[in-house]
Subunit: 268 residues, 4 copies
């Protein structure tokens, strides 16, 4: 490939018309739901009706659940500085990282790795995963919740996976880990919404590397609503009130210390 060449298998022009993964964009516009188009663009193939139903559910569940998350706070603060809608959405997406939505891909990778290594021996995989986490005193990505002992969003997604016939080995492993954790710790450390999405994406055979991307696509909808609301309802320039701020740095001092030899005392 020459230096100035660009290539892509995502989409391009065939016979002068735009095509995505080989399908004509005009035909897609007539025939597909948005979720089907997203499935196609990310995975290269169209979902069947059951895969589609499951994927719609994954996308809907991540749309929004209100204020509080770093992504919404970042997005609304950017708008509050007097900026256009795309800058606010971009800042929100910048906040979605390893500690915010990142458990999806880490959990999916874990499920793939252990399934590859121990095939159908779910008990062995679950036992090893739970034990290792306990020994390393680390959290398993996709498990645990600050409030819930059962995360209702995880339960809903798995219920839907059962109706679409996707309750295969990855979901079984995800639930076996939850059971193992309860045995080891004597209390429920629930499979949370991130973990359930991870298991479902494995059932749909998505590359674990797109886990965060799918969450971002989903959450962009909610971020857009927040950003538009911030513009419409709030005065510019959010300010953290002074009483919530503590300066705990160095005490007052003067520049005329011996160390700093007034290097800037330039002759003008």
């Amino acid at each position: 490939m020459a230096d100035n060449q660009w290539r892509t298998a995502v989409a391009g022009y065939i016979d002068g018309e735009p095509h995505v993964r080989g399908y004509n964009l005009l035909e897609m516009t007539k025939e597909l739901t948005f979720a089907e188009a997203i499935f196609l663009v990310l995975k290269g193939e169209l979902p069947d009706a059951k895969e589609r139903k499951l994927f719609e559910a994954i996308l809907v569940t991540g749309v929004d659940h209100g204020l509080g998350m770093p992504s919404v706070t970042a997005a609304r603060n950017v708008i509050s500085g007097g900026n256009p809608i795309n800058a606010g959405i971009a800042a929100g997406i910048l906040a979605i990282g390893d500690a915010h939505g990142g458990a999806i891909e880490q959990c999916a990778k874990l499920l793939y790795d252990f399934t590859k290594r121990y095939a159908d021996d779910i008990a062995t995989s679950a036992g090893l995963i739970a034990l290792r986490a306990r020994q390393e005193r680390s959290r398993i990505p996709g498990y645990g919740h600050a409030v819930y002992t059962t995360d209702p969003r995880a339960k809903t997604l798995i219920d839907i996976a059962k109706t679409t016939g996707h309750n295969g080995g990855y979901i079984a492993l995800a639930l076996a880990i939850e059971a193992e954790l309860e045995k080891l710790h004597g209390k429920k450390i629930c499979l949370n919404v991130d973990g359930a999405i991870a298991a479902l994406l494995c059932e749909l055979r998505f590359d674990w590397r797109v886990g965060k991307g799918i969450f971002i696509i989903s959450r962009t909808a909610g971020l857009t609503a927040h950003v538009v609301e911030e513009m419409a309802r709030e005065a510019p320039f959010r300010r953290i009130p002074p009483e919530e701020i503590t300066y705990d740095g160095l005490a007052k001092r003067k520049i005329t210390s011996t160390k700093h030899q007034k290097s800037n005392n330039i002759q003008i």
Copy 2:
């Protein structure tokens, strides 16, 4: 509202469960398509089946059409510097501005403004809009295309709008402007995909201010695919080849000019 208070009508917890615009997120996950959830979060109400079909089409049409756009170039260059997926997507969204997707909201505003002023007198509105643009030698947002004399994506969207019963006054006005432009200029200056999306969003009674947001949600899918592909297929650090770069600035010169009095000649 106290300084430290945050408020939102988008989503929040009711009786301990997440609700979006009053609907339980769990029920939404079971019942809705992703496009319905987006419609809800942005507009505050669920679409009926016909509105939903039209909105799915709008979202599908913007998903992607390959390389070439500033958004994809920006996104892939950010990944090329060795950065995570969300940074690449965010950079792509940052490129979506007044000259890239911005025609949607400008055109929707125009359609709303003139409809408000001249009610059903579409001929008057179309005539005034086309004439004013000619006098000001300005482009009407949503009209004209570098390649197409008829934009097939615009035609497809309007065809769908006819089947869902949304071919109302806004689409009529959009098409009347196209006809008027042809009369005035003696050649077709077609309603393009941005203009068609604008007319459809008006038919769906969306606030014109969310036009760019809807396009961003749609295109985030394609940007995600590009970013994942860049990571998987390309070596890091895209470099514009030197033969495509021209430095046309000041010629070589020395700092020891009389003007700059070597202010930095500090005594160390």
Copy 3:
């Protein structure tokens, strides 16, 4: 210029070595302060010693003043989501907009415009500016402060401008507006730090369009320190405490309304 050509007058290779605005980057590295290099890259020429002193002061004054601003909040929330340092800094810069640092370029434009129109007749300019703002009930960019009646940062900058011989017509106009505002309103509406920077940049003959850029360069230093501190000292995932959040949207309702005809009830 061919489609694939890029051109720049900022910097490039001359005889195989990097040059900025005609100066060899190696010579610059030996001879210049960072502020001189910034002055050069933005303005195309090196400052003399007095200009340099004034420009250093402008850059130092914007470095940081702690927590509270939307830019710092956005930056730290992005890090809090588990993201790299550059993503945090970028989010902070995204928050610097019309309502956050934007007064610098708006005020500089105002000073240039009126000086062009009324030349040395500062009294007329100041009178018109203050009167128009009063009639339109609008704020003059660069004037007024929530806490200060005299902004000490503005005073310091203007004091330095006097020592470097830059107290020319633009500073005189900026101060005349302040005096005029006091006469009209019967109370001090002080020239603030943004307004003072604007006046100084006019004295240095900077294009008003780089006003925000200079502030961004300056503040990037503080944002970097905040982002590094957030990584080093804070646990991930900042969360707005629930008691500071109000959901004031629609009340609880069920999806099975007559309007939504369960379109997603797909046959799988």
Copy 4:
């Protein structure tokens, strides 16, 4: 710390006036160069005159060297979409990642790690580092250049370090690695500008984690100039010319496959 509390040691108000790391911002504005203020805000202490001279040089050397880098391409494409200056700068900074400026912190970490382990035994450290890289067939961060056999920017920085008395153990180690690489590979794999900056930052005892941050502060100056130039000189909407684009994805196909059961054939 209560949930809603924010704390910082970077800057804050003491006796009603802004202070950075204990120094009054007004006094700083009068006394410091911009580089001194950056040194202070990042390191917590003021540099002495020699440290300041070296730090100015580090900052100047990263300002800009023209077109070609992913950061500039991303920044200019964002502007090209019709966006404000801060969005362009932010996109440029987003591109600065592990493969673009990231070698600075990786190299600084390496120099610190080996110095800690082998103290003054530079020969042992250099030998081990070069050997390990050869065995792992990996590049050592901060070494090698596509064009140069000696990177003149690295040489200039080290020359300045000698005049300021900073040619200590870290620079010795950095140069010993270069010599060791030449012995092992039979050709020069030069210490490049990233590696030289890393060694200098170690000599200045900066935390290696701020390496990328310092480069970002420096490069923000150049990005600002590029963004302003793009706005002033170029037409909107950069487009990669079609002849430079290859679509190498799936061939044309129709949606009416057996797999996709026209799930979207909704009854409207």
